[in-house]
């Protein structure tokens, strides 16, 4: 039957007598198809790249005892490589009272000094950095005023469960830990708050002896900047609080192997200026993108640094001052509900290395990005 004949046959068909059959066999089957599930996948689309000459300065003055200044100078890196450090001729820290000090070079593009008598670090005082690059470009930051952070902030953990959808689409309960941070906001509402969340966990890798027995080998302490993409800043002016105590769930996570030998959560609460607050806010808008139709467009992150020699040259990064309070909470294996370790090294076939068949970190826990066998001073567990 050719196409025209088919259409002619359809033309004489009494539609109504067949409607129920059509509905039963065709319509309902179609309706159950996915309706609103959108589709997200990776594609090949070349980003332009090619701006690796611009300089990035990340610098931070922390009031402590002693206070420290750290400066990291790099170039932007495109998508074919990694960051290149930039060595400056001089890096100076200046106070708005006119005093200044040179920041010491401790590596390529890395400068760090403890601030002793040369400079007074006081709340309400402005500080800036000045860099002279090898090409004689003079880079200067705006003054950033040191804000005071309030101490006495507390961190508590609540163990519970959460419903999640597993890889097979089934709903199941998952043990989780919720961390609640109670923060005292600043006295001055112009001051903004920034939180950094770091976790450390103990991890023991394993060894298979000649008898194919699995035995503990070495202990590592692994550090991760938790929620790196989830930048947490707060402007006390735009929140509705009945008191100056601000409570938030700073993190929620599954209880997994990281809790198997001991776990420490550290929250660093920093008092920052509005410019720094905007800087973090802008970063948070560009590091996590979803492409949905209501998403705000990406933009260029504003820096508080200027190239005085060549004003057309863009400088990225930020110099800021911070006063901070460090809050820590240790969770033992028992407190976490005795979760299992992830390392069950299989016994390999004769003549083959067991590590071919195991998680790499279980063979050598120093494989973690930031890990050490030195027990941190703050570690409360064994």
């Amino acid at each position: 039957m050719n196409f025209y004949n088919l259409l002619n046959e359809l033309a004489v068909m009494d539609f109504r007598s067949h409607i129920s059959k059509i509905i039963r066999n065709t319509l309902l089957g179609l309706l159950f198809m996915a309706i609103v599930s959108s589709c997200l996948d990776k594609i090949d689309l070349q980003a332009p790249g090619g701006i690796s000459e611009d300089v990035v300065v990340e610098a931070k003055l922390v009031k402590s005892n002693p206070s420290t200044i750290s400066v990291n100078i790099t170039r932007l890196f495109n998508f074919d490589g990694f960051s290149n450090q930039v060595t400056a001729k001089t890096v100076m820290l200046e106070s708005d009272d006119g005093s200044s000090m040179e920041v010491r070079r401790v590596g390529d593009g890395v400068y760090r000094s403890e601030i002793t008598d040369e400079l007074e670090i006081d709340y309400g005082r402005g500080y800036r950095i000045k860099l002279l690059l090898q090409n004689q470009d003079l880079i200067e930051s705006d003054y950033d005023t040191l804000q005071r952070v309030r101490k006495g902030n507390t961190l508590t953990a609540i163990k519970g469960t959460k419903l999640i959808e597993d890889d097979f689409g089934d709903i199941r309960e998952r043990p989780n830990m919720r961390y609640i941070l109670k923060s005292y906001l600043t006295d001055d509402k112009e001051t903004k708050i920034h939180w950094e969340v770091i976790r450390d966990f103990k991890f023991t890798d394993l060894l298979v002896n000649r008898r194919f027995e699995i035995i503990p080998n070495k202990i590592c302490y692994v550090t991760e900047n938790r929620g790196l993409l989830d930048i947490r800043v707060l402007d006390p002016k735009v929140v509705n609080l009945s008191s100056d105590l601000y409570q938030q769930e700073i993190i929620e996570e599954e209880i997994d192997y990281q809790y198997a030998e001991g776990y420490n959560l550290t929250v660093v609460q920093e008092a920052i200026t509005e410019k720094t607050y905007n800087y973090y806010n802008e970063i948070s808008k560009v590091v996590v993108r979803t492409g949905n139709m209501f998403e705000e467009p990406a933009g260029k992150i504003r820096s508080n640094m200027t190239n005085l020699t060549n004003p057309d040259s863009e400088i990225f990064g930020m110099f800021y001052t911070a006063d901070h309070d460090t809050i820590r909470l240790f969770i033992s294996r028992e407190q976490a509900g005795n979760p299992d370790t992830v390392c069950f090294r299989p016994v390999p076939p004769f003549g083959q290395s067991p590590c071919r068949f195991a998680i790499a970190e279980c063979c050598d826990c120093l494989t973690f990005d930031v890990s050490t066998t030195q027990k941190p001073a703050f570690w409360k567990g064994e």
């Binding site: 259409l7 002619n8 033309a11 068909m13 539609f15 409607i19 319509l27 179609l30 309706l31 159950f32 996915a34 309706i35 609103v36 599930s37 959108s38 589709c39 990776k42 594609i43 090949d44 689309l45 980003a47 332009p48 790249g49 701006i51 690796s52 611009d54 990340e58 931070k60 790099t74 932007l76 890196f77 495109n78 998508f79 960051s83 959808e165 689409g169 790196l228 993409l229 002016k237 929140v239 509705n240 769930e249 905007n278 806010n281 802008e282 970063i283 808008k285 560009v286 590091v287 993108r289 492409g291 949905n292 139709m293 209501f294 998403e295 467009p297 990406a298 933009g299 260029k300 990225f316």
Partner: protein, 908 residues
């Protein structure tokens, strides 16, 4: 002797038609006689009696003279010349059989051969018509009223024979005369033709053709009726409002969408959609699937005036943009003015989408509806007082939730998306000349995602309009409209539990008067006033634990007023000009808090110097907006058109995302947010072929936007009390060429359109002040619609679209913070393009049965949207991939084929 007034012409013609064959030549008659002081009237009576001559005259036109003289075998001509010498009276011998006595001036100057030929033809046709009882000739006017030029202007109203509803946009054609006219929004028409009997043809989609003879004897009016086709849904031909309207009309850049065509196009989830149909026209595009609204010739979504009768809508989308708010069963006609906007419209820069709703049937009850996979619709209409008052109620409702529950994604299962809308309309005819319409519209959308956030928005629109035909040439439309759009955005999660409310309402009063002096000269004047009230943002915490601090922005008020006038002048048969002007004025009214800045031309948050609560009129803007269009007919089937319009827009929707959200606020022009302005130029050649069955057109356009705004990077737009600090002022330009080819009738029919266009902006503070592409700049845009109609009942439709990917802003590098966070650095705005878009849809419609008298009729449409499952990118965004590489990610809103079936029914 016969004493006649001008009615004598009827007799003349009767005599003419009967006596022509055997008549001797009167001019050859020889007159002999003696006259002594004989009155002229008596002389003429003697001529009739003695020589069997028919003499026609009006007594009061005869000279006050006595004839004295002796005549011997003097030819009639010479005799009459002698009789009327030295008088103001003349004569002539008509067709050598009758003598006509008239004032000499008329003989010499006015009474043309055409006049008499017309009279003759009219009489002959009249006699023929009398015998044709089944199709009697339509009589217009009276011969005694016929203009000396032999031409007559026919006016009237074309109505639906069943519902008595005026039919808009139908072509009335007198092919022998080469004259055609189109009924206006009142169903009125006007055409000037030569007197006589002519074939008349009226074609209108969904109605039986009306072919009649019309005997035109003088200026006059006549009401005409069209009957609906018995199998209207099976009508396979696409016959527009006018067979040659695309060539004849003076207006350039107008797309008229036929509702029947809309219903046969492939649909997304079975919902026929006016706006998606508009996208198939050249120069009309959208950001992507699921985006709200549409873009016309490089204009923003909020630069389109979307009219539903006289009221305009702020949000014409359901389900965040997947469907439009228009119920196609309610629509009479849709016109889209793409840049060359008539003077009666204003307030938007880019386009006017004029959706004309229809009235109910005032003779009999009718019910129709449709059932689709995600929504259903029902419409009921009928008389309240037969032939006088009708009602029409139509509604749609969605039921997507049951489908969402079937999807194996927890977040989707926990989501909800529903909408409904309701139209109600009462139409009352006080008389044939006065018509009152009361209409109401309500729509509501509710959307929530995974109990995390949601939108809830609604539109209310009420309208009363009185249409009056004051004289045959003068008619008016007075309307009062009130509308309110309200939206709530709800955050249901975490410490941010809050709601954001915005709304905008207006009261509009408009008077529009048309005065058709003649077929060659028509005027349109009017005025309107719109009072706006907006709540730009109320942000409130919705839970005691929420940290969101409530913000309530000041209510804003504004008054937009305009007067306009335009004239359409037919200078020659070929040259038709429409010129007009619109004078618009906008006042931003207090009370309102106005901030002051160090540099008022560049307001920023860091340069605020204070604020003040102001009352009364805070700022005033006015603009003179000329509108012009011309058509030069180069041949019977081809014309060149050009147009220019100046447009001003006094309020905008504030959004910097790809698509506005339902909660994007509407911002009136303030002392800092100035109105947007644009010059719009267009020109094109239009050519029809094969008896107007093929329509072709080629248009070029240029828009010079001399004031617009864009947004600073990371602009904070929600509940911002000094929104001007987030805006940057600039200019824009859009230009392009549009090609269209359409075949209206035939087994294979459809249309093809291609657009090449650019849309760019230049804003100080963005991209170093250089020109950059707007978000909706898509240089190549191609659409092909192909319909296969093997017979009247079945239609197979294909729809293919291709367009260049729109611009996006990619990262061009990274840096790493001390905490190890890799931060992307983005390029200048809109530097690269997302992948091109293409999609094929197919639909198969089995129309209503052939039984004309069936009380229950059904039709069904099978449709597959995105047949080959193309994953068209709505957007592309970049994430950090392995080795710090930028990984492009594509978000395809619709990533697969979407089949649907829609079942339509109608009870008569």
């Amino acid at each position: 002797m016969k004493k006649l007034n001008l009615l004598f012409h009827i007799v003349i013609l009767a005599v003419c038609s009967v006596g022509y064959a055997e008549a001797q030549t009167k001019a050859e008659v020889l007159i002999t006689g003696e006259y002594t002081n004989v009155p002229i009237e008596q002389v003429l009576d003697q001529l009739e009696s003695q020589y069997d001559i028919d003499v026609f005259f009006k007594k009061d036109e005869l000279p006050d003279k006595m004839l004295t003289g002796s005549y011997t075998e003097m030819p009639l001509n010479e005799f009459l010349s002698s009789v009327f010498s030295r008088t103001a009276t003349g004569f002539f011998i008509y067709r050598d059989t009758e003598v006509i006595i008239v004032p000499r001036q008329l003989v010499d100057e006015v009474y043309s051969a055409k006049y008499y030929q017309a009279l003759e033809g009219s009489q002959e046709e009249e006699e023929v018509a009398v015998s044709a009882e089944e199709n009697p000739t339509l009589m217009v006017g009276s011969l005694d009223q016929l203009s000396p030029t032999g031409k007559a202007t026919v006016t009237g109203v074309l109505i639906d024979a069943q519902s008595n509803e005026e039919i808009i946009g139908a072509t009335i054609n007198w092919p022998e005369q080469g004259v055609a006219t189109v009924t206006d929004e009142f169903g009125k028409f006007s055409a000037t033709l030569e007197a006589g009997t002519h074939d008349m043809v009226i074609e209108y989609l969904g109605y039986q053709d009306l072919r009649k003879q019309m005997n035109i004897q003088s200026d006059g009016s006549i009401n005409l009726e069209l009957f609906k086709e018995a199998v209207s849904l099976d009508e396979v031909t696409i016959r527009g409002r006018s067979a040659d309207a695309s060539v004849d009309n003076v207006q350039i850049s107008v797309a008229t969408i036929d509702v029947k065509t809309i219903k046969k196009l492939p649909t997304f989830l079975g919902e026929a959609d006016v706006i998606k149909s508009l996208l198939l026209n050249p120069g009309v595009s959208s950001i992507g699937e699921g985006a709200t609204g549409f873009n016309v010739r490089g204009g923003e979504v909020d630069q389109n005036l979307v009219l539903q009768d006289e009221g305009f809508l702020f949000n014409s989308s359901h389900a965040l943009g997947f469907f439009s708010t228009f119920n196609t069963d309610m629509i009479n006609k849709v016109d889209l003015y793409k840049g060359n906007i008539p003077a009666e419209y204003g307030g938007r820069l880019a386009s006017v989408m004029d959706v004309e709703m229809r009235n109910g049937n005032d003779e009999e009850f009718d019910m129709k509806g449709g059932v689709g996979p995600v929504s259903s619709r029902l419409l009921i209409e009928g008389p309240i007082i037969k032939n006088k008052t009708s009602f029409l109620i139509g509604g749609r409702a969605s039921y997507t939730d049951w489908i969402l529950k079937q999807i194996d994604v927890l977040e989707v299962r926990n989501s909800s998306a529903t909408f409904y809308d309701l139209n109600a309309r009462i139409n009352h005819k006080f008389s044939q000349k006065h018509n009152l319409t009361l209409s109401g519209y309500f729509s509501k959308d509710e959307f929530s995602f995974n109990n995390e956030f949601g939108f809830d928005y609604s539109t209310v629109l009420g309208e009363a309009s009185l249409r009056s035909i004051l004289t045959d040439k003068l008619y008016s439309k007075f309307s009062v409209t009130y509308s309110k759009y309200a939206s709530t955005q709800i955050d249901l999660n975490g410490n941010d539990m809050s709601s954001l409310d915005i709304d905008i309402s207006y009261l509009k009063i408009k008077e529009d008067i048309n005065y058709d002096i003649s077929e060659k000269l028509k005027f349109n004047v009017g005025g309107e006033g719109i009072l706006y009230t907006t709540e730009p943002g109320i942000l409130e915490p919705t839970d005691a634990s929420s940290i969101i601090q409530g913000v309530t922005l000041d209510q804003e008020n504004g008054l937009e007023a305009a007067v306009y006038g335009s004239a359409e002048v037919n200078l020659t048969d070929a040259l038709l000009i429409s010129a007009g002007v619109r004078m618009s004025l906008f006042q931003f009214l207090g009370p309102a808090t106005i901030f002051s800045y160090e540099d008022p031309e560049n307001p920023t948050t860091n340069t605020i110097t204070g604020s003040e609560l102001k009352e009364g009129t805070i700022s005033t803007y006015s603009n003179l907006e000329p509108r012009f269009s011309a058509r030069l007919k180069l041949s019977e089937n081809g014309s060149f058109k050009a147009g220019y319009s100046r447009t001003a827009q006094y309020f905008n929707q504030i959004f910097n995302s790809d698509s506005p959200t339902p909660s994007s606020q509407w911002q009136l022009a303030t002392p800092y947010v100035k109105p947007n302005l644009s010059h719009n130029f267009s020109a094109g050649y239009f050519h029809n072929l094969k008896d107007n069955n093929w329509e072709t057109s080629f248009e070029v356009y240029y828009r010079d936007i001399d004031r617009l705004f864009d947004y600073r990077d990371f602009a904070q737009l929600i509940a911002n009390e000094h929104i001007e600090t987030e805006l940057l002022s600039g200019i824009g330009r859009a230009y392009g060429a549009e090609l269209s080819l359409k075949r209206k009738l035939g087994t294979w029919n459809g249309w093809l359109s291609y657009t090449y266009s650019k849309s760019e902006r230049q804003v100080l503070g963005i991209n170093r002040g250089d020109w950059y592409s707007s978000n909706f700049d898509k240089p190549h845009d191609f659409s092909l619609i192909l319909n296969f109609n093997p017979n009247q009942r079945h239609t197979l439709s294909f729809n293919f679209n291709y367009s260049t990917g729109r611009p996006t802003t990619p990262p061009i590098g990274n840096f790493e913070t001390s905490t190890g966070l890799v931060v992307p650095i983005y390029s200048e705005r809109n530097e690269v393009r997302i992948p091109d878009y293409h999609r094929l849809d197919v639909a198969y419609t089995i129309g209503q049965g052939y039984k004309k008298n069936a009380k229950f009729k059904t039709s069904v449409t099978f449709s597959i949207y995105n047949l080959y499952g193309r994953k068209n990118a709505f957007s592309v965004f970049f994430t950090q991939g392995a080795f710090n590489r930028a990984q492009a990610n594509r978000l395809a809103v619709l990533g697969s084929a979407f089949p649907s079936v829609t079942f339509n029914f109608e009870f008569l």
